[in-house]
Amino acid sequence: MAGCDQSFSQEDSIRMFVDESEVIITAAKMSRTQEKLPIPVQVIGKREIQQTGAVRLQDILQQQSGINTVSMLGTGVQMQGLDPDYTQILIDGEPLTGRSGGTLDLSRIVLGNVQQIEILKGPASSLYGSNALAGVINIITEQPGGSGFLVRSMLSPVQAPNLQAEIHHGTAKFKSSLFADYTYSPGYDLDPETYGKTVEPYHQMTIHGKLSAQLSTYTKWTASVRHVNQTQWNAYEVTNPADVVTGNTYQKEWLAATGMHHYWNEHLKHSLRVSYSTFNQDLLLVRQESQQVEESLRFFQQFIKPEWQQELIFRDLTWYLGAGGEWEQVQSDRYEVTRRRAHPYGFTQLEWQRPTWQMLASARYDNYVDIASSLSPKLSLKYHLNDQWSVGAGWGQGFKVPDFRQLYLNFANSVAGYQVLGSAELPTVLADLESQQLIDQYLVNPDLFGEMQPERSNSGQFFADYHDKRGNRMQIQAFRNDIRQLIETLPVARRTNGQLIYSYLNLNKVYTQGIEWSGSWMISPQWQLKSSYQYLQARDKDVLTSIDQGKVYRRNPETLRTERLTRKDYGGLFNRSAHQAQIQLTYQSRGGWSVQGRCIYRSRFGFADLNGNSILDAASEYVPGYGIGYLSVQKYWKSWIFKGGVDNLTNYHNATYLPQIPGITPFVGFEYQFDFHSDK
């Protein structure tokens, strides 16, 4: 814990506000300070996480501008206007497994042992491959050091309780730590009129163990195991006939990684890492009256990923070379057979550090045998105008391969009356149905559905950076992402029983562009003001073309007569806000108190087409903009931290469109840390 007694200088106050280790790993796969990186990276440090009282990743991401949490089969993250599918989420550099419908549920990630969260926006496929088209969120957990333990507890209506414990033991050569988190949430109900809660109760256990051994002066061995076990209740009402559906979703996640790192000399370093991850999801939902199965799912996914890396340092040049492979396997009752794929990859990066400028050039080659291979390049440059100001630019290409769901899913929901087929499954199933004369009508030419291609992006950014010795910072960034071959879900055919058959297709071309601004200002040694803002445009290019051709119409809501749409009427992609802003004021007293008030604002966003032209244009198709206020107080006292606060001061809620935001939520918590001896 940072001491708040003793003498208090300007330097100390900066250290209190700015997290000690502003060293970033994600952007270049090497430890670099923000100043030396030609790529802007947003860092949320331990101090900020602690101050907010956030327990899960989504709690802290919800409070950032330029990041949006969206509720689609779990709570996912939307960056630069791109859906959760396109952001890779890593823990200590290893990708997390277990996406439902493309969304990696952020509620499965707890923050108790997190050192910092690094958010790299824009394409990162050149280092991280598929899924990093929109960017990367890398959760860096604490490195074990010293010996001691820590207990922490948070209590609020939605976390009742959260318990955390961590024990670490370290010598000069051998370091280990074990972290555990248990959360029970009774859920919450924003709409008591309907049966079932908005978010049903769940409990979740996380265990994360880490080991590192300095085998010799030049050789280090690391290992880690992370396990998450979550049980989520479900309860909701159905009609036709009226019944109540209940059941549990069980999710289990394992991630084991080990690595060997060796310095041959001061110029050459080799690393070998292997990770194995699994994700298990079991779901059984039953109609209580009729005892019919409403929905069931068994899903088991495994990844094995060995990766070799070489770092070669020559004066101001660092050359990085890596190669690896990824084996993926999925067994599920929604797939005909066990699906497997293996893909080798290789990447390289050249970093050039000069006193006045930096350059980072990287490229990665991914060979997906059954689909297509991808080459993802990226180039970033930064020039320092003087001690305070620097400017930079970047360009990169990203990709995302179709996932197993989009290729092989074979799922029929007989209750809701639809069928979803992966593109590889579609031809045989359609031929089968056709031979039995079960197809009533094709809604789209089925020949269009064939070999699926990766989704590809082409992105550019410009930025300007200011920072001074007093701890003030400012950054402005303009970005643009052009994505083609976006995969869409489309109804292909109607069966004779009226059920629709859906499948996946490379279809759209979209772009997202915007401006992001962030700044922090030390008003006085005790006061800090931070704010950020993002302006975003996300548009479907094909829709724009149709609008320009005068082919897009809507009905005037009053006369019901058709009118022609203009570009001005088009609201872009659904679920994107044009404006997002955040402002935060922090006070840190000499006596160990810290008080923080935060406000976030998000402008209106579209939720669905209501007037039948399938695009966002009418005012009624938007969820109104909203603001949320947060207040938290923290007191450091010896080895203790006490905290309390209120999230969502104004009790904003929207059960239908923002179920992931609970109403007003007071919380209290404490932390006790004991160190036998510190080796810092």
Binding site: R555, D609, N613
Partner: protein, 208 residues
């Protein structure tokens, strides 16, 4: 000779009539836009569990010339649920098509489309393939299966050749009773058409 003279007079008369007609059409007054409100054409009642038809309903037949419902063969369009038939072609729906009607759906704005398409473009019903196709996003409407809502697609103008070879254009405005701006499929009566049309009585393709 007498025969020839008669023929000559006949030609002359026809010519005169034709000329007179042309003279009156050229500076044509805009035709009036007429509106049909709440034409109720319920579908068969079906047991949703078994698919069994509980009650069969007849097509509701509409005539442009009378701007009303007819029961004889002088109908131009017949409505039932989301299905719309033309009086021309064949069908498997127990409706007599004695006329030479047809229809074609065009994309555009009702007011801007002032001339009926060429005769070759009109489609007639044949079996289950209707001139005005059924199905969501195939013809005149889109079905939102999340909101259970039928919405007429904006920018769809239906040109109709009537049973007696005249022309009309129409735009369907609503599928729900009293054409609410935001219909509620659970409370607003469905299969209740509101549409506006222009009907040309003189047989020309002018629909301005």
């Amino acid at each position: 000779m007498k025969h020839n003279a008669l023929l000559g007079i006949a030609f002359l008369l026809v010519g005169l009539v034709a000329c007179k007609k042309d003279n009156s059409v050229t500076p044509s007054d805009p035709l009036t836009v007429q509106e049909v409100d709440n034409l109720f054409a319920p579908n068969d009642e079906i047991d949703r569990e078994t698919g069994e038809i509980l009650q069969t309903n007849d097509f509701v037949k509409f005539s442009f010339s009378t701007n009303g419902i007819v029961t004889d063969d002088s109908w131009d369009l017949a409505f039932k649920g989301t299905k719309i038939l033309v009086n021309g072609g064949t069908g498997s729906d127990n409706v007599n098509r004695n006329g030479n009607g047809g229809a074609i759906i065009k994309d555009g704005i009702f007011e801007e489309m002032t001339t009926a398409p060429d005769d070759g473009e009109y489609r007639q019903d044949s079996g289950t393939d209707l001139a005005i196709p059924t199905g969501s996003n195939n013809g005149w409407y889109v079905y939102n299966d999340a909101a259970y809502l039928i919405t007429p697609i904006a920018g769809k103008v239906i040109f109709v050749r009537t049973h007696d070879g005249k022309y009309a254009k129409l735009e369907i405005l609503s599928y729900y009773k009293d054409a609410p701006a935001t219909p509620d499929p659970f409370t607003d009566q469905a299969a209740t058409y509101t549409f506006r049309f222009i009907y040309q009585t003189d047989g020309s393709k002018n629909l301005q």
